[in-house]
């Protein structure tokens, strides 16, 4: 089974050909907030993305969304993110942002549930109408989904897909969970 959710590669990603990490513009943003340990927390990530003006015309990410982003890539369960993970996050976020912008044609900063549903499907998720409704209800305020909510939703979908995948040994779209493991892996996203 093909698992969705990795999004299109960022078409506008940072240019290649930089001779060293030090000259990567992302590295500049990262080191401006990271401490000696070269890791950033959710708060620092929020600052970093604001300073890099990632959200552009959209409102900056709220702290809970940043926490979700950290845990999406937090393989060592340290609740923090290193530079390589940050680069990976940037690429994934850029893809999602482009996608959002392509739906939000009037640049209002929000999309409606129908557009959201199409966006989720076009990322490759095959969900029943009920499952889709669950997800959309969770993320809409006043019937609209903001950029921040959209990203939070994408992050969660991807994290849950990763959790599921690891327990679907035969890659048949069916996973087995033991109770203690279920609690821990699901709460960790």
């Amino acid at each position: 089974m093909n698992f969705p959710g990795y999004g299109a590669p960022a078409a506008g990603g940072y240019p290649g050909g930089f001779p060293g990490q030090q000259q990567d513009p992302l590295y500049g943003y990262f080191t401006a907030v990271a401490g000696q340990d070269g890791q950033i927390s959710a708060e620092e990530l929020q600052t970093c993305l604001s300073q890099a003006n990632f959200s552009g015309g959209y409102r900056p990410f709220n702290i809970e969304t940043c926490r979700l982003m950290i845990s999406m890539l937090d393989r060592d369960m340290s609740c923090s993110m290193g530079f390589n993970e940050f680069k990976e996050l940037w690429a994934v976020l850029s893809g999602w942002k482009q996608h959002f912008m392509s739906i939000d044609r009037d640049m209002s900063g929000t999309v409606d549930p129908q557009e959201m549903s199409q966006a989720v499907s076009s990322m490759g998720y095959r969900l029943s109408p009920q499952a889709m409704n669950c997800i959309i209800k969770r993320y809409s305020s006043n019937g609209k989904i903001s950029f921040d909510d959209y990203v939070a939703c994408c992050v969660k979908l991807r994290s849950l897909t990763d959790v599921f995948r690891k327990r679907d040994q035969a890659q048949q779209g069916v996973a087995t969970f033991q109770y203690d493991d279920f609690i821990q892996c699901t709460m960790s996203i």
Binding site: R126, S128, C134, R138, D180, T186, M187, I189
Partner: protein, 185 residues
């Protein structure tokens, strides 16, 4: 094992509270005298010991647990349940806040959840604190402690629904998994 016991906050009060006593409280909390206590009114009446507002997500969870008519608030009859629920949680919190700091730290949290029957790794307690501690003190305040336990309970409930033979294992499709957990975590 939490999974096999019907976990609810243990019953600490042997006698139900006096109706007059409850009515006094209800009237004070129902500021606009609408006859029902709203999320906002309940939030204002509760304290988490930090001088910051009580976790609104927890307030919503509590109201919706006792609001039988989906009206977005609790009337006097339903409020008796709310009062008992919160009082029970206060007793539990005090029991496990062994150093009386007003917060539950990682060790105290581990003792509490182990006491409730959960079997969780040491590293996972770090994750729980990070996820639920809104005060950013690496400890959980009263409201965040309740929220953590509510989420654990909800996940347990949803797992149990799928574990038809009650052996602690489930097999689910990708879609089922997403629907099960998306709104809980």
């Amino acid at each position: 094992m939490a999974y096999h016991t019907q976990y609810r906050p243990p019953h600490y009060n042997s006698a139900p509270p006096d109706q007059g006593f409850l009515w006094n409280i209800f009237q004070r909390v129902d500021k606009d005298r609408s006859g029902a206590i709203s999320d906002t009114e309940l939030q204002q009446a509760l304290s988490n010991g930090t001088w910051t507002p009580f976790n609104p997500v927890t307030v919503r969870s509590i109201i919706s647990m006792f609001d039988r008519e989906n009206k977005g608030g609790v009337n006097f009859n339903e409020f008796a349940g709310v009062w008992k629920y919160i009082t029970d949680w206060q007793n539990i919190f005090r029991t496990y806040d062994r150093d009386n700091s007003g917060f539950i730290d990682k060790n105290e949290l581990r003792q509490a959840l182990t006491g409730f029957g959960y079997r969780l790794s040491d590293q996972f307690y770090n994750t729980l604190i990070e996820k639920f501690d809104r005060q950013k003190r690496s400890q959980v305040a009263f409201d965040d402690f309740i929220q953590c336990c509510i989420v654990l309970q909800r996940l347990t409930d949803v797992f149990r629904r799928y574990d038809t033979d009650q052996d602690g294992w489930i097999q689910v499709s990708y879609e089922q998994y997403l629907s099960m957990v998306f709104n809980v975590v």
